[in-house]
């Protein structure tokens, strides 16, 4: 019995290694990391002290979830892995369901915390669109757990682990990759920001530039609620905070003109300090703020932007 970890993103794989060590410390099991067609990642993972299996087979198509899931299923068999940890980024979430079905495993995704009680891995994750936080455990013999990015610190370097090749067969893939491109221009990592200024529908487009000014003067980033990006298209989708956007844990969140539906608040409620400014005194967001201000943003924003240097 062993734990197997896999993510195509090395930063996330290192976070999973931290979670794997937490589990292993309680149930005493081996940890194996897996890399597919990426010998640089294999070296980096080994440097963090984990036994790393490197699969080199160009027939495995990373864009084809079934192909990757097949390779992981095969590896889980060879390594006797009963717990598979994946990342809950988009690629990892898609993979989790397919692999779990192949392994006849129970699966939890978007897991943002775990503890081991009496040998059982108890996972926490948002449910009901974020209205509640559930503690759940998988009872089946095999478990697939996908960990939300940034829920665990990246593993520290330890005495170097070994890299071993793992032979995995793979058939032809029905999915053809025509093109792959990085997202253009405005890619910002709001999850990494210490300070976020978040704009909602309760403000006018012309004032977004003021919010941006405030963000930049505080050394933070501009973010938004979902409708601001998807309906109004004022900002890019990479700036969305919420259930189907990013879950952020900044030191400070200044939330402007957002009413505070749970699909939004789930993405920001782990912030250390929350400031909310809204013209509606009944807006729920004011209740979940450390500093709540009922005010007209049209008046407040120019003033705040002016005062900050």
């Amino acid at each position: 019995m062993a734990i197997m970890i896999y993510s195509e993103k090395n930063g996330l794989a290192l976070e999973m290694l931290t979670a794997a060590r937490l589990i292993a410390a309680n149930i005493g099991t081996d940890i194996n990391a897996l890399c597919i067609n990426n010998d640089i990642q294999a070296e980096e993972l080994a440097a963090a002290g984990v036994r790393t299996y490197s699969i080199m087979n160009n027939a495995i198509n990373l864009a084809d979830t079934a192909s990757v899931a097949g390779a992981l299923q095969n590896a889980a068999g060879q390594l006797d892995a009963s717990i598979v940890l994946l990342a809950s980024n988009r690629r990892g979430k898609e993979l989790a369901g397919r692999l779990a079905q192949k392994l006849d495993a129970g699966c939890l995704t978007d897991v943002n915390g775990l503890q081991v009680i009496n040998g059982k891995v108890q996972c926490t994750r948002n449910t009901l669109g974020g209205a509640t936080i559930a503690t759940q455990q998988i009872d089946s013999g095999r478990q697939v757990i996908a960990l939300a990015p940034r829920s665990f610190a990246a593993a520290a370097l330890q005495e170097r682990g070994i890299v071993q090749e793992l032979g995995i067969e793979s058939g032809p893939s029905p999915i053809k990759l025509i093109a792959s491109r990085n997202k253009a221009g405005d890619v910002v990592d709001i999850e990494a920001a210490d300070i976020l200024v978040i704009v909602g529908q309760g403000m006018e487009k012309a004032d977004v530039v003021l919010a941006e000014g405030i963000a930049s003067k505080l050394g933070g980033e501009l973010a938004c609620s979902k409708p601001v990006a998807t309906d109004k298209k004022w900002l890019g989708e990479d700036r969305i905070v919420g259930l189907s956007g990013k879950k952020c844990k900044p030191q400070l969140a200044i939330i402007l003109g957002v009413s505070g539906q749970v699909q939004f608040t789930v993405g920001i409620r782990d912030a250390h300090t929350i400031v909310a400014i809204n013209n509606d005194e009944n807006a729920y967001i004011l209740q979940m703020a450390d500093y709540a201000m009922v005010a007209d943003l049209k008046e407040i924003l120019p003033e705040l932007n002016e005062v900050l240097r």
Binding site: A69, E94, A96, D110, L128, Q137, L243
Partner: protein
């Protein structure tokens, strides 16, 4: 060709109240998940260009017959519904088994569309599990679909990159919430929805034993505690002082 859209009946989350940190479902009506409506709209658009038949599939308690009218009004031609009181609040693996069994009853499925996650549990597992159960290839997190005969060209949108992919039908796709803007059905469409064909499937007609499928135990599900200060701030000066006191201003 049939295009199938799988949708989930969920409690209207805007109407769920929290009492003593517990969600209260009493009197809360059912609706379809928000991203399910994007999957449906994608299906309607593909139907319009290809002339395919659009079937919406769902599983739930008896309310699902009413809930599904929304999908029929929005442009689905018919519905396949698995109805049983046991089919509420299911874990993903069981939803997938029930849906896959229902979809097996449909011939000539070209595309099978899902939202990237349900409105309540948002586990994102069901499309992947159904694809595996049916032995079909899949592409998730899709922002664009173009159908050309039996070839489909898809754009998958990841956090930092996009992939343009090509595959032969049949294919399972999960769509992103920003793939389209779901249309609002007209009054005529709503009135017609009630007369569209519905295939009601009893759980007993599907060869599945639900009792053996359960793999997850939920130990608790509680609203997070709110321990915020909730200090009222009246002026910009007060706000700036608060930010200074917290060390967010002038900390260089």
């Amino acid at each position: 060709m049939n295009i199938v859209v799988a949708v989930k009946q969920i409690p209207d989350l805007q109407q769920v109240r929290i009492r003593n940190r517990q969600p209260v479902f009493e009197g809360v009506p059912f609706t379809l998940g928000l991203i399910d409506k994007n999957a449906l709209e994608a299906g309607v658009q593909l139907k319009e260009v290809s002339g395919a038949n659009l079937i919406v599939v769902s599983a739930g308690n008896e309310e699902v017959e009413e809930t599904i009218k929304e999908a029929l009004a929005a442009g689905a031609d018919e519905a396949y519904l698995v109805i049983d009181d046991k089919l509420t609040d299911l874990e993903s693996s069981i939803s997938a088994s029930v849906l896959a069994a229902a979809i097996r009853k449909i011939d000539d499925v070209g595309l099978l569309l899902f939202g990237e996650g349900s409105g309540d549990n948002y586990s994102g597992q069901v499309s992947s599990r159904v694809a595996e159960l049916l032995g079909l290839p899949q592409v998730g997190y899709v922002s664009q679909i173009e159908l050309d005969g039996t070839v489909v060209r898809i754009t998958r949108s990841l956090e930092d990159s996009e992939e343009v992919l090509e595959a032969q039908l049949p294919l399972v796709i999960s769509v992103l919430g920003d793939i389209n803007e779901p249309r609002i059905p007209s009054v005529t469409q709503i009135l017609k929805a009630g007369r569209k064909p519905k295939e009601i499937i009893e759980l007993n007609d599907l060869d599945i034993d639900l009792s053996g499928l359960k793999k997850i135990t939920t130990l608790s599900s509680l609203a997070p505690e709110n321990d915020r200060k909730r200090a009222a701030v009246r002026t910009v000066t007060e706000l700036v002082s608060a930010l200074q006191a917290e060390g967010f201003i002038g900390r260089q």
